[in-house]
C-alpha cells in the first residue's frame, strides 16, 4: 500500500458528516431510496433500526452457522456410532452398544455442534467482512477517525454504479450533510 501512495489520484468515495444519529438515520433512508448499493454508515455507538434505514436484509450468516452446526452434529454422530457401535462395539459400564446407548454420546454431539457452529460464525463472519486485510482506503482520511468519537459519518464509494463525482456530492449536501470529504485510495 505504502509503495503506491503517490498514485493517490483515484477517488475511493465521499465521507459525509451528519449532525446527529437522527439526521444520519434519515440521510440513510434517502441514500437507500436513491438506489445506492456500495455505501455504509459509521457511528460512535450502535443506532437502533439503522439496518432498516439502510435497507439491509437479513444476514446470511445464520445459514452458514446452521451448516456448521449440522456438520458438527453429523461428524460427532459418525465418529461415535461408527467407532463404538458399528466397527468395534465397546461395552462400557454395562451399557448397550446399539441405538439405546445414544445418551452416552449426547455430550459430544452437543459440544461438536456448538464448536462447529462457533467456527462457522467466526470464519463466516470474517469471509463476509473480507477480513483480515492490511489496510482500508478510509484510513487514509484523518477526518474518518471522528466516527470513533462524535462523528456520524456516511460513506459512498466511487465503485457504486450510481456514483457520479458532481451529482453525488450535490446529493449529499441536499440530504443535509455538513462537511464532505473526498477520500483517495
Amino acid at each position: 500500500m505504502s509503495a503506491v501512495s503517490d498514485s493517490s489520484e483515484e477517488l475511493f468515495g465521499y465521507i459525509a458528516e451528519f449532525g446527529s444519529a437522527a439526521e444520519l438515520y434519515h440521510a440513510a433512508e434517502h441514500v437507500r431510496d436513491s438506489g445506492f448499493k456500495k455505501w455504509d454508515v459509521h457511528t460512535p455507538f450502535p443506532v437502533h433500526g439503522i439496518d432498516h434505514a439502510m435497507g439491509l436484509g437479513k444476514s446470511w450468516l445464520s445459514a452458514v452457522v446452521l451448516c456448521g452446526g449440522v456438520t458438527g452434529f453429523a461428524l460427532a454422530l459418525i465418529l461415535q456410532f461408527g467407532t463404538q457401535v458399528l466397527l468395534y462395539p465397546t461395552v462400557v459400564q454395562g451399557k448397550p452398544t446399539n441405538l439405546y446407548t445414544v445418551p452416552a454420546f449426547f455430550p459430544v454431539l452437543f459440544e461438536l455442534t456448538i464448536l462447529f457452529s462457533g467456527f462457522a460464525t467466526l470464519f463466516g463472519l470474517l469471509i463476509f467482512m473480507q477480513l483480515p486485510r492490511w489496510n482500508h482506503p478510509l484510513f487514509n482520511s484523518e477526518f474518518f477517525k471522528k466516527c470513533t468519537d462524535d462523528g456520524f459519518l456516511l460513506v459512498i464509494e466511487s465503485r457504486d454504479p450510481r456514483f457520479k463525482r458532481e451529482q453525488t456530492k450535490e446529493f449529499l449536501t441536499e440530504i443535509g450533510a455538513g462537511h464532505i470529504e473526498e477520500v483517495y485510495s
Binding site: 437522527a22 438515520y25 437502533h48 433500526g49 434505514a53 437479513k58 445464520s62 459400564q93 454395562g94 451399557k95 445418551p103 452416552a104 449426547f106 455430550p107
Partner: protein, 509 residues
C-alpha cells in the same frame, strides 16, 4: 425512528373492562369441580382398582397444585429478574408478570388439603409421615437396646485381640538371642502389618455411640428404612410445617410487596419506588430460589423419600420459567385480540419473549437431560428407581414422546427460525404447545409415584384414576383463571408511570 412514542401520552394507563363473564364462569366451573372432587374424596371414600380412592386422589390434587403454582412462581421470577437486571424492554408486560405471580397466594391456599393430616392426602403422598415413627422406634429399640452394646463389645474385643497379637510377635522376637538381620527384618515386617490392623481396630473402637449406631443401622436395617432413619432430622413433621410456612411467606409475601409497590407507582410516579423495588428484588432473589427449590424437594422429591437428585430444584425452576413466559405470551395475545394494548405492544416485544422462550426450552432440556444422564450413567440403585418407574410399560412411550420430542425437539426447531419468533400466531402456537408439555411434565413427575407407592410397586399405573386428575386440574385451574382475571381487571394493564416506560414503548432489538 420516525414517530417515537412519548411515555407522557401513556401515563393514564389502560384498563381491562371486559372479562367479567370469563371470571364468573371459571369460578363456577372451578368451584364446582373442587366441590365434586372433595365430596368424592371425603364423603364417599371407597376402593377403586385395588387402592383407596382418597389416597389416589391426593396425587391428582398435588399435580394440579404444582402445575399452577409453577406458573405463578415463573411470573414472580420474571418480575424479580426484570427489576434486578434493571431491564427496560418488558416494562409494558411487567404488570402481567406481576399479576401472574400474584396467583401464588390463592394456589398456596388451595394447597391446604395437602398439609391438613385429617384430609388423608398428606400420609398418602409422603410415605415418610406414616413410616417415620416406626422406623425410629425400631432403630432405637433394637439398635440402642440390644445391638449397640453387643456391637460395642465386639469392636472392643477385636481391638484388644489385634493389640495382643502385636504384643505376642514382639515377645517372640525378643525371645530369640543373637538374631540375624534377615530374621529381625522378617519380624519387623510382621509387626508393622499387625500394628496397622490394630490401629484400624482401635480407631473403630474409639468411635462414639452415635457413630457406631450409624454403621449398625446401615448393616441391620432394610435399605429404605435405614435411609429414613438417617434423614430423620430433615424429614420431621414439625420442621416440615415450619418450612411450609416459610415458603408461604417468601413466595406469596414477595410477590404481594412487588405488585403493591408497582401499583402504587401508577399513582405517585417518580423513580423512588422503581429504585426501591430494584433493591428489594436483589435481596429477595436468593430466598425466593431457596423457597421454590425446597418446596419441590418437600412436595415432589419427597414422594419417594429414598430418592434424591441434586438437580431437582433447577429442573422444576427451568420448567416454571419457560412455561410462565409461554403463558404470558398467551395472555398478552388474548388481551390484544380484544383490542387492549394494541397501540403499545409491537412485534419487538413478541420477538424478545419468543427468544426467552427459546432459550429456556434449551435450558430445560439441558437440565432435564443432565439429570437423566448422570443418573443413567452412574447406575446407583437409589437414584435409578425414579427413571426405572418412568421407563416401564406405557410410561416409556410417554417419556420419549412428550418429554424428549414434545418438550424439546418440536419447540426448539420451530423457534430456531427468527421469522417465527416475530409471527404472533406461531409464537402463540408454540407457547400453547409448551404449556401442554409442561402439564405432561408435571404429570410425569407426580403420577407414576401413585401406583408405585399405593400398590407397593406391583404396578406402575392405576388406569381409572385419570378422571380425578382432570377434575383437580379443572378445579384449581378455574380458581386460578378467576383470580388472574380479577387481578388484571383491578389495575392498569401496564405500569403507566414507570421511568422506563419510554424504553419499552420504543423497543427495538
Amino acid at each position: 425512528m420516525a414517530g417515537l412514542k412519548n411515555a407522557d401520552d401513556y401515563s393514564s394507563g389502560e384498563r381491562l373492562k371486559g372479562g367479567g363473564l370469563l371470571s364468573i364462569v371459571s369460578l363456577l366451573v372451578g368451584g364446582g369441580a373442587i366441590l365434586i372432587f372433595f365430596v368424592l374424596a371425603l364423603v364417599f371414600p371407597q376402593e377403586q382398582d385395588g387402592v383407596a380412592r382418597t389416597d389416589g386422589m391426593a396425587y391428582s390434587w398435588l399435580f394440579a397444585i404444582v402445575f399452577f403454582l409453577s406458573l405463578g412462581v415463573g411470573g414472580t421470577f420474571w418480575t424479580l429478574l426484570h427489576h434486578a437486571s434493571n431491564s427496560g424492554w418488558g416494562t409494558l408486560v411487567r404488570r402481567l408478570m406481576e399479576n401472574l405471580g400474584f396467583t401464588i397466594p390463592i394456589v398456596l391456599v388451595l394447597s391446604a388439603p395437602l398439609i391438613i393430616p385429617q384430609v388423608g392426602f398428606r400420609d398418602a403422598l409422603w410415605e415418610w409421615f406414616p413410616k417415620r415413627e416406626a422406623a425410629i422406634e425400631y432403630a432405637e429399640k433394637k439398635v440402642d437396646g440390644k445391638l449397640l452394646p453387643k456391637y460395642r463389645k465386639q469392636v472392643d474385643d477385636e481391638a484388644a485381640e489385634a493389640q495382643s497379637k502385636v504384643a505376642k510377635v514382639e515377645k517372640e522376637k525378643a525371645a530369640i538371642a543373637n538374631i540375624t538381620p534377615g530374621h529381625a527384618r522378617h519380624f519387623d515386617d510382621k509387626i508393622k502389618a499387625l500394628k496397622k490392623k490394630a490401629d484400624a481396630k482401635a480407631e473403630k473402637a474409639a468411635k462414639s455411640d452415635e457413630e457406631l449406631r450409624e454403621i449398625l443401622v446401615g448393616k441391620e436395617f432394610k435399605h429404605k428404612e435405614a435411609l429414613l432413619y438417617a434423614k430423620k432430622g430433615y424429614l420431621n413433621p414439625n420442621f416440615w410445617y415450619v418450612r411450609y410456612f416459610f415458603y408461604f411467606i417468601v413466595l406469596a409475601g414477595g410477590i404481594f410487596i412487588l405488585r403493591t409497590a408497582s401499583v402504587k407507582q401508577d399513582k405517585v410516579g417518580g423513580s423512588k419506588i422503581f429504585r426501591d423495588l430494584r433493591g428489594f428484588s436483589c435481596a429477595i432473589l436468593l430466598p425466593f430460589a431457596v423457597a421454590w427449590t425446597f418446596l419441590v424437594f418437600d412436595w415432589l422429591m419427597g414422594l419417594d423419600y429414598a430418592w434424591f437428585s441434586t438437580m431437582w430444584g433447577v429442573y422444576l425452576f427451568a420448567g416454571a420459567a419457560l412455561n410462565s413466559m409461554g403463558f404470558l405470551i398467551l395472555v398478552l395475545s388474548a388481551l390484544r385480540k380484544f383490542g387492549y394494548l394494541t397501540s403499545v405492544i409491537t412485534k419487538e416485544h413478541y420477538h424478545i419473549m419468543g427468544k426467552l422462550m427459546h432459550a429456556f426450552v434449551i435450558f430445560w432440556a439441558y437440565i432435564a437431560f443432565s439429570q437423566f444422564f448422570l443418573i443413567w450413567y452412574a447406575n446407583i440403585t437409589e437414584e435409578t428407581k425414579f427413571f426405572l418407574t418412568r421407563n416401564t410399560g406405557d410410561w416409556n412411550f410417554y417419556t420419549i414422546g412428550f418429554l424428549v420430542i414434545g418438550h424439546f425437539f418440536v419447540p426448539f426447531l420451530v423457534l430456531l427460525v427468527r421469522a417465527h419468533k416475530t409471527c404472533v400466531p406461531i409464537v402463540c402456537s408454540v407457547a400453547g404447545w409448551n404449556l401442554l408439555m409442561h402439564v405432561a411434565d408435571i404429570y410425569w413427575i407426580v403420577i407414576p409415584e401413585r401406583a408405585v407407592t399405593l400398590t407397593g410397586g406391583a404396578v406402575v399405573r392405576i388406569p381409572g384414576m385419570w378422571v380425578y386428575d382432570v377434575l383437580a386440574f379443572v378445579g384449581v385451574g378455574g380458581v386460578f383463571i378467576f383470580w388472574l382475571v380479577r387481578s388484571i381487571q383491578s389495575v392498569s394493564l401496564y405500569p403507566c408511570r414507570d421511568p422506563r416506560l419510554d424504553e419499552s414503548l420504543n423497543l427495538v432489538n
